[in-house]
């Protein structure tokens, strides 16, 4: 039901490298789970609004007042590659 190319596409969207044999197993597992999930596709939900929040809150806003942040040392302390006081990443091509 979920073929290898869909698995490959989704894995790329999610930035997950799967070995080719893992992709196949993943496809089978996802298909198995989706079989169970498909019960909701038979439900009549016409006219039923979606629920994003179970609590009826609105307009939770913060005053535009500065709060103390992190020192640069703390901001960078957990990064593996610190370059020029910033976070280093490899080239993007």
């Amino acid at each position: 039901m979920i073929d290898d190319s869909t698995v490959h596409h989704v894995a790329r969207l999610a930035r997950l490298r799967l070995a080719p044999d893992e992709e196949h197993v993943m496809g089978e597992e996802l298909s198995g789970i989706l079989e169970h999930i498909d019960v909701i596709r038979g439900m009549d939900v016409e006219g039923v609004p979606p629920t994003t929040h179970v609590i009826a809150l609105e307009n939770v806003l913060r005053p535009d007042e500065p709060r103390p942040g992190l020192s640069r040392d703390d901001a960078l302390r957990e990064a593996r590659h610190v370059v020029d006081d910033g976070f280093g990443v490899p080239r993007m091509d």
């Binding site: 790329r12 979606p50 609590i55």
Partner: protein, 479 residues
């Protein structure tokens, strides 16, 4: 009798009476943590805990929680104390801030002794998905403690700490509490700040207490609830959490959810729950059957919504700002390898499932539809609470299962949360209390109430707990 046999409330009282010092309590529990036979902990910081105990012991007046030790699920951010969420992705990660709920407890005088084991990023129902080691059930070391907060549950059952914090997305507090024979509570969504809880599924995640008594759970809850300016979805309780005192259930109407008592529920579990329901009646309550016909769709709904949210929540783990990285020459390779190699199999599976459910062309069929089914489930619960005060069901359809029994089939693991998930989808408060044994293993009773009915829930659970008189000491445990 060891200090570890005191409940948290008893420890607070002993501290207040000057019968014991916080340092003595912390040392007694640290010793039990050090000989961690069940693998409940991932990180322990004895120096910090002891230093804090000395500080509190030196205060002219004890804070409300007196200096009683606590275990914290590794999904909660603790400043400078390694926090991994059970994942290689955060191996060695030292947060720069502390979760609001943990901070509130520390401010109230709780002492963090360590971080407890969990399924990676809270995805699982057995704690076997921890990237570090499994946790064993204190009642039977060949069995799982449940999950995902299995470490927090086992630590309390094993009396390594009198109480602990877990997080519950689809049952991750209630199910391990049931399997370990202790009390676990998931409050109403929004009651406790999620700031500092490493997100799994934002619209479902809630922090909650584990304890050996309902009263202890209430005490811990009392010091965590309330709006936090750092969490837009948090709000104040309509009334303060009270320490429960009820000894009967007169006038209480308890509905038993038909759909959660049938197929898939082990006979021994059904028997123990049935016993508890007869006890409800004996205490003056009434028990009526209730039907929630959409709840059987809860599992499917949950396994669309939670993975979808998780796929987005876990996208930030890329090795750039924190955590380990798998170095490669290009950004794409580095991203894909870091995430592919450092996330475990279940996390990868859920990210894939969630990414798929949100992808162009599938959103309406899956995510959009699941949100609408969720609405139906919310409505059903709401209608049910017009008829009854609380709903009852087993917490888990089974008792603790053997390690490895369900790891090969993801869906069989998902079934462990079939009774807890519908309540999560509705955002309602629920508590699991031990109600008996089946084959020598604990069985949990789940009680759920309307939003913000925590006091009603705790009161009923307390009265029932007294009547059931379940002994939380696992066989063979010597404190």
């Amino acid at each position: 009798m060891s200090l570890r046999d005191l409940t948290a409330a008893e420890q607070v009282a002993a501290l207040a009476a000057g019968k014991v010092t916080s340092l003595e309590l912390v040392d007694a529990h640290l010793a039990a943590v050090a000989s961690d036979e069940v693998g409940a902990f991932l990180a322990v910081d004895p120096d910090r805990a002891r230093a804090r105990a000395r500080e509190i012991d030196a205060l002219p007046e004890r804070p409300p929680l007196g200096g009683v030790p606590i275990g914290i699920k590794d999904a909660l951010s603790t400043r400078d104390l390694v926090t991994t969420a059970g994942s290689r992705m955060l191996e060695g990660f030292r947060p720069v801030y502390t979760a609001t709920c943990v901070q509130r407890l520390e401010d109230a005088g709780a002492i963090v002794v360590g971080k407890t084991n969990m399924d990676e990023f809270a995805m699982g129902s057995s704690t076997e998905n921890s990237a570090y080691h499994p946790t064993r059930n204190p009642w039977d070391h060949t069995r799982v403690p449940g999950g995902s907060s299995g470490g927090s549950a086992a630590a309390v059952a094993q009396r390594q700490v009198p109480w602990s914090l877990g997080s519950d997305t689809g049952g991750s507090i209630r199910q391990p509490a049931a399997l370990c024979g202790i009390v676990g509570m998931k409050p109403t969504y929004g009651a406790i700040s999620r700031y500092g809880l490493i997100a799994f599924a934002s619209s479902l995640d809630q922090v909650g207490p584990f304890a050996r008594t309902v009263r202890d759970a209430a005490l811990l809850l009392r010091h965590m609830v309330g709006r936090d300016p750092m969490d837009s979805t948090s709000l104040d309780m309509p009334e303060a959490i009270a320490l429960p005192v009820a000894s009967d259930l007169r006038g209480l109407r308890v509905g038993v959810v038909d759909e959660l008592m049938g197929e898939g529920v082990e006979p021994g579990v059904r028997d123990a729950v049935g016993y508890a329901l007869r006890m409800v009646e004996a205490l003056g309550g009434t028990v009526v059957p209730v039907s929630l016909p959409t709840t059987p769709l809860g599992l499917a709904t949950y396994y669309v919504l939670a993975p979808a949210e998780c796929s987005s929540n876990l996208a930030r783990f890329d090795g750039v700002r924190y955590g380990p990285v798998v170095d490669d020459d290009t950004l794409l390779d580095q991203y894909e390898r870091t995430r592919g190699e450092l996330f475990g199999p279940e996390v990868r599976r859920r990210i894939m499932l969630g990414t798929f459910a949100l992808a162009s062309g599938y959103y309406d069929q899956y995510y959009g539809r699941a949100q609408r089914v969720r609405t139906l489930i919310v409505r059903e619960f709401s209608a049910a609470f017009d008829q009854v005060d609380l709903l009852a069901s087993p917490t888990s359809p089974t008792v603790a299962f053997p390690l490895g029994a369900r790891t090969a089939d993801p869906y069989s693991m998902y079934l462990a949360d079939v009774c807890t998930i519908p309540v999560s989808l509705a955002g309602l408060p629920a508590i699991s209390i031990p109600c008996g044994l089946s084959g020598g293993l604990p069985v949990g009773l789940q009680l759920a109430g309307p939003a913000f009915s925590e006091n009603r829930l705790l009161g009923a659970a307390h009265a029932l707990e007294q009547a059931l008189a379940f002994d939380t000491l696992p066989p063979g445990l010597v404190t």
